[in-house]
Symmetry: C2
Amino acid sequence: MNPRRKKNTRAATLADVGRAAGVSAMAASAALNETRTSARISPETRAKILEAAEKLGYRPNVAARALVKRRMNTIGVSVVWYGSELNVYFIEVLNGIIEAATHFNQNTTVFTFHNWKDDIDRVGAVCDGRIDGMILLAPVYSSELAARLPLHTPFVALHANVEAEGVVNIESDEERGAHDIVEKLVELGHRRIMHISGPRGLLGAERRVRGYRAALLEGGIEPDPDLLISSNFTAIDGKKVMLEWLDAHARPNIPDAIFCANDAAALGVLEALASRGIRVPGDVSLCGFDDTISSRTTVPQLATVRQPLRDMGGKAVDILMQRIEAIHGGGPDFTHSPVVFDTSVILRDSVIPMPSAQQNIAPDLNSR
Amino acid sequence: MNPRRKKNTRAATLADVGRAAGVSAMAASAALNETRTSARISPETRAKILEAAEKLGYRPNVAARALVKRRMNTIGVSVVWYGSELNVYFIEVLNGIIEAATHFNQNTTVFTFHNWKDDIDRVGAVCDGRIDGMILLAPVYSSELAARLPLHTPFVALHANVEAEGVVNIESDEERGAHDIVEKLVELGHRRIMHISGPRGLLGAERRVRGYRAALLEGGIEPDPDLLISSNFTAIDGKKVMLEWLDAHARPNIPDAIFCANDAAALGVLEALASRGIRVPGDVSLCGFDDTISSRTTVPQLATVRQPLRDMGGKAVDILMQRIEAIHGGGPDFTHSPVVFDTSVILRDSVIPMPSAQQNIAPDLNSR
DNA sequence: CTGAAAGCGCTTACAG
DNA sequence: CTGAAAGCGCTTACAG
């Protein structure tokens, strides 16, 4: 256009391709898209078009296509950052989401918020044509706020802490998982079992507390309020509350075992214990929840409850895609009932039988 | 909610807003965007327009806007997954990227590839208007391939392993970092210092090897080829190569200290040593590189070289934004020279003075 | 100061 | 079978 050489090379358009091949832009579109109607393009013409496109490095402009197709081929993921650390839980789920999205030829874009309550409008604001659907990751909001989500965008939630009408939730049997790992600790001879919970009131945190209490009671152990500490699912806070507890209690009173509401908190606890010279698992057994990468990169490796985070992320995409297809017509209908995944206990080096149960064995051998 | 169950709720358009307010779509646009020309909208009209927009839940369609503005307000991040595990290095960098992008009001979309060499075309394919610029994370490709990157999209690389023309690279002084930590080991009395490197040939791996060698030579130690092992930056392979080396060597020949090319490899080495009853740091000192979260969650905590990964991610966004602004006119010019961050040695419990230098001290006291 | 028109790049539906 | 036209939703540039 401009005879003066401009710095920014402009991307080639369909019109450019058509011009180079001596056909109309429309013919180029038909040939490149292999639409039904492209049968009418003669093989030679089509070859010329493909060649021109290749030579010009033609890429269909996604915004233009989206405008007419009303489809961006992109799914959004909304997540809140607590503090400023992206946690590993999120990464595992994102892993599954990206993988599944790629399988459907969809892009994934991540939106981060500070706070579900205040930012729910921003979640809605993002539904402006840039995404075809949205996955809400561990959302916490009121149902009134949830009602403000735009109707024209389909939503799927994962680990939702509140039920929103018409939003399918993907979850795991957290209460069962918590129960099973605490039951295991009891079987191994531990009696004074501490739980470092998530924020009280959140569905996920409460379910884990319920499982913990149930397993204790089944084992004939009366839950000790002094051994139930509330934290917020982060390593930093896990470390903090553990140190505070240790400061307030004499060394002989440390628990036999500690069950943390998630792996991140367990990492913080591990740091706190190490800094006070309390050995894991020699002095206290420790376990987490989630089976994130980090549970395998601690030394000792962390016993935990596995929820198939990656699969759960993938499932969220599957369901979201069904809803998107349904909206765009043609797709089969979808279900509104929550999807519940099983959990399983993963025993690793951080948990050993209560030492008193084997006091004739030298301490060294406990850690192999 | 909707009793009519109108499935296909369509998002409100500017025309809808204009109609509701009794003005043209263009007037609505001017009022809502507060453009210079919007001064001409009377306060009453503007109020009516804002009210109508609010009531209709109007959101400017991003695809339409992008089409005319040639701007998506989205930056892409390209990353290769080795195996199927997203590693912690990536998480830290992504943290910084998302944070900075949010600050500039930009979205971040992550593209994952299997292999830089084969997928470089796919990196280009993604430059189709959906992103305004791209960050390449630790890319490995040939400069010929790099030349195929679309000219119309600005790129910034982080930890690039090959230099591509016109692509600014963000890096850290890895050679210096490796040198400094090995120098420290020498100062502490260690002589037989092993290095478990990254894949030979990769820029980052070579720089660390060079720093290692230089520090040895400065300390009057002739590098021993038997103590230089090549691995691939993963925990799994780090464990494997360490075990192989131990199998091939008699116990008295184990090194005084081991410097791993990254933290992940060091975790694997830690496992390998533990499985053979070799104590860290009692029998051998160990250190990594990167200062990822995992270096703080091992017992003992891992000495390492810190590179400010998060800041580096943020810097990549800063520079990319400059280039994007420059292309869209108006912005200040940008530099093509690489940006080099400082590294620093972080000493932690996994490194102690060479025991022979303090043989009168009981082993227990070494680990506090 | 105002509104009508053109155009971003593409696809779909419709005449010829 | 083919090309010309309309339109997706928005903003910019241009007449009145």
